[in-house]
Every structure is written in structure tokens, then in C-alpha cells.
Subunit: 258 residues, 2 copies
């Protein structure tokens, strides 16, 4: 093993994905030969319902993926966001099952990819590797559970604020979310005109500004005040479940979104 490969296993040189960075040197070494990092543009579909799941995608840096549930009217309903804190594709199913949801790149950027079969083989060889992925799977589950509850009882205003905060935390962008009102409405499963109205009221209160095709956040705390607490509940679970799995962990888990 020469110096170059050894360097590739060090945490700092890994893709900017918390799940991959969380792994021990030994565990990451099992995966490293199979990891490919590529850029993927926004709106690219990673999976459609019924697709064979053969690749796990790890959003890196500001990349963001979402799970969409198709609906009888053809409208997709967005459910959860996955950013650099996690991964999509075969996390729970362990691959090779038909995908149930659509998975879409919401904000483009780099994704690390690993063949599911390779990942499963590595899990066979390392219990601690399996452990990390099982823990993340549980966090993802928590996220969806929270989302289900959130959709049942929280107002559109709360959910709008929640979504904007969650997107910002993941992309790391301090102020801007590239989204039209139409897109925001669709992804919350609500009417466009009402979504516009909510943004309008946020603007009137000085919480954000609206530009054509994007939202500029002016007062993050104000937004937090108007959001439900679903993000925080999920973030807490991420911290409890994943904290200290490996002490080499970086600072912020940067989790959340219910």
C-alpha cells in the first residue's frame, strides 16, 4: 500500500459526506476501491418506481436528493430530504429490490456512488460497517416517521419554514434557496397560490425576500420561530444514534428535516 492510497483513506480526503467520513479507516478501506464521485445536475432522477436498485448515492457538499411518492393524479409528493448527512438507494432494502419511490436530485452537485453489491459484501466482512449503515437506516426511518406526523398536523406555514431551513442546513448556503413558488408548492403538496401567500407573509414580516426563482433568507431565527419542531426532533435522533459510533467524527452532524 503506497503513500497515495494510504492518504486516500484519511478522513480529510474522503468525499464530503458525513456517512463516509464517519467510517473507521479500516472500514473505509473496504469501500474506497469502489467509490466513484461524479457531479449530477438538479432534477436528474436517480431512481423511478420499479427500478432495480444497484447503486447507493451519497450526496456530497451542497448536493441534495429527495424521495418522491407518485400519486394517482400524476403529481409527485415530496417526502424527505437527504443531504451530506446520509445516502439514498438500498439503505434499508440492501439493494436489488424494485424501488418504491422516485428519487430526484433537488440541488445538483457531487455524489459519491458505490455499487450496492460491493457495499453489502463489505458489510459481510465488517460488523462495524454494517452497524453504521443500520444506524443511519434507523435515522432515515425516524425522518420519514416525523414527516408523516408533520404532514398530518402541522400547518403549511410551519412546513414551509421547516423545508427552507432544512434545505439551507444541508446546502450550507447561508441565505439563498433556488426554488420557484410553484416548485415549493408542489413539493409540499399544496396549492401554488397559497404557498405564494405564505412566502408573502414571511416577506412582510422581514423573514425573507423573494426573487424570481429563489428565496433569500433574511432572518433565520424568525424562520425557526415559524417552523414546527420536526427538524429538531429528527436531528436529536441523528445525534443520539450516530454520535460516538466512531470518535473520529467531525463536528456538526448536519442532519434533520422531518
Amino acid at each position: 500500500m503506497d503513500a497515495r492510497i494510504s492518504k486516500a483513506n484519511e478522513v480529510d480526503s474522503r468525499p464530503a459526506n458525513n456517512l463516509l467520513r464517519r467510517l473507521s479507516q479500516a472500514d473505509y478501506a473496504l469501500l474506497a476501491p469502489h467509490v466513484i464521485v461524479e457531479n449530477t445536475a438538479a432534477n436528474h432522477l436517480l431512481y423511478n418506481p420499479g427500478d432495480d436498485v444497484q447503486i447507493v448515492h451519497f450526496p456530497c457538499g451542497p448536493s441534495l436528493a429527495t424521495f418522491l411518492v407518485p400519486n394517482e393524479d400524476g403529481r409527485d409528493v415530496e417526502t424527505i430530504l437527504v443531504g451530506r448527512e446520509g445516502a439514498v438507494g438500498g439503505i434499508v432494502s440492501e439493494g436489488f429490490l424494485p424501488a418504491y419511490t422516485r428519487i430526484c436530485v433537488k440541488f445538483g452537485g457531487p455524489f459519491a456512488r458505490i455499487n450496492v453489491a460491493k457495499l453489502e459484501a463489505a458489510k459481510q466482512r465488517s460488523l462495524s460497517l454494517r452497524n453504521v449503515f443500520a444506524r443511519y437506516a434507523d435515522c432515515m426511518l425516524a425522518q420519514i416517521f416525523q414527516s408523516t406526523a408533520c404532514n398530518a398536523i402541522h400547518s403549511i406555514e410551519q412546513r414551509t419554514a421547516k423545508w427552507i431551513l432544512a434545505a439551507m442546513e444541508r446546502t450550507g448556503d447561508e441565505s439563498s434557496v433556488p426554488l420557484t413558488h410553484e416548485q415549493l408548492a408542489t413539493l409540499l403538496g399544496v396549492g401554488r397560490s397559497y404557498a405564494s401567500r405564505v412566502l408573502q407573509s414571511f416577506r412582510a414580516e422581514g423573514v425573507l425576500d423573494t426573487r424570481r426563482g429563489s428565496i433569500l433568507v433574511r432572518n433565520r431565527d424568525g424562520l425557526r420561530l415559524r417552523a414546527c419542531l420536526c427538524n429538531d426532533a429528527v436531528k436529536l435522533h441523528f445525534e443520539e444514534v450516530l454520535r460516538g459510533v466512531y470518535p473520529t467524527e467531525e463536528a456538526s452532524p448536519n442532519a434533520a428535516q422531518g
Copy 2:
């Protein structure tokens, strides 16, 4: 191995849970020594948020468990139903993580129980056993995804009809669901008076009758007509993912509920 133990491994003598019955003789033999069947009454809490998950519970026969997400106001929101088609506790997390949701026995009856550690040990020894559980985990995930979408876009009327159908399919009871309006409302996360009104409108249309503390279904197809299609979408996924895993499978998967 004497005749008695060999008999205990045959499908007909196993607990009335599809997941356990789906296993090959060899796989079930790995679990059989650790399976305990007990009755549990309605409203018993199997897990509370934060609990250590150490036991997997398999609802048998008409038993029914539900996942509840606690809310800031103290109101729990019900998410998905699990009956004899599945199991609860450590299915995705593989155990030993703090539970995120509350898990409650909705309709009492027999539950088969296995220690998570024993189940995991058996999975280590048998890939096909692991495979069945991974496939079920994926189905459960599909169920929650569908539920999230359903809560986002379907009306209370549709969701009420859906819930009643799902409960009936699981218990096998042809006509009656033991539930007060209050309970139904709480579990859908809606106001009691509106839930009453919906049931009233169903009654006026001859779809069901209401008794104090229970709902009597008169016209199942009428109810289906008024429900969203979430149940069917999930049921289809159950069939695709679990069908033919072992050909010894019994007839109806009896799945569903989005």
C-alpha cells in the same frame, strides 16, 4: 431431532404471522428455540421513544400494532399499522438503538416475540433469513412513505375509509372495528367533530353503521370507493418484494395500509 421438534418447524404449527411462515424450514429452525408467543392486551405500549429495542414483536392472527409519533402538544400521531404481515421493533435498526416512536398494541391478541440479538445472530448464519427481513424492512419503508404522501394530499374522508379497510384486512374481522370516534380522530390527527361527521356521512350512504365504541361495515366496496388508493399501492409492493421468496408461501399476503 425427534418427531415433536420436527413438527414444530412445519409451517402449519408456526405462529400465525406471515413473516415467520414465509421462512424456509432451515431458517425457521434457527429462530424456533427463541420464539415465545404471548397474548398482549390492546393499548399496551411495546416501546416508548428512547427505549432500548431488545425484542422483535410479530403480531399473530388479529393482533395489530401501530407506530405513534409524539408531538409537542402531547398528542401522538399515528402513522402505520402492522399486523400479521410483519413485525415491529428493530426491523430496520437491527436493534439496540433508542426507539424513535412509540409502538402501541391497537387490537390485542397473540404476539410472537424474539430477542433482537438472537435474530441478528441467526441472520449472520443465514443469508436467506437476512434477505427476508431486509425485504420486509423495505416494505415497511414503502408503507411509511405512502403514509407521508397520503397525509399530505388526501382528504380526511379518504383517509378514514382507508384506515378502516386496513384495520379490517388485518384483523380478518369481516365487519366490525372496535374504535370510538375520539380514537379514530386522534389516530388520524384530526378533530373529533369532523371525524364524527365523516362517519355520519358514510352511515347516511349506507356504507357503515355506528355503535357506541365500534364501527360496523356494511358495504366494503362502498368504503373502497371512498378510500384513497394508498393501501393498494403498498400491497402491490409487498407482493412484488416478498412473493416467491420462498415458494412455501401461503395464499394472501394480507398486507397494506399506507
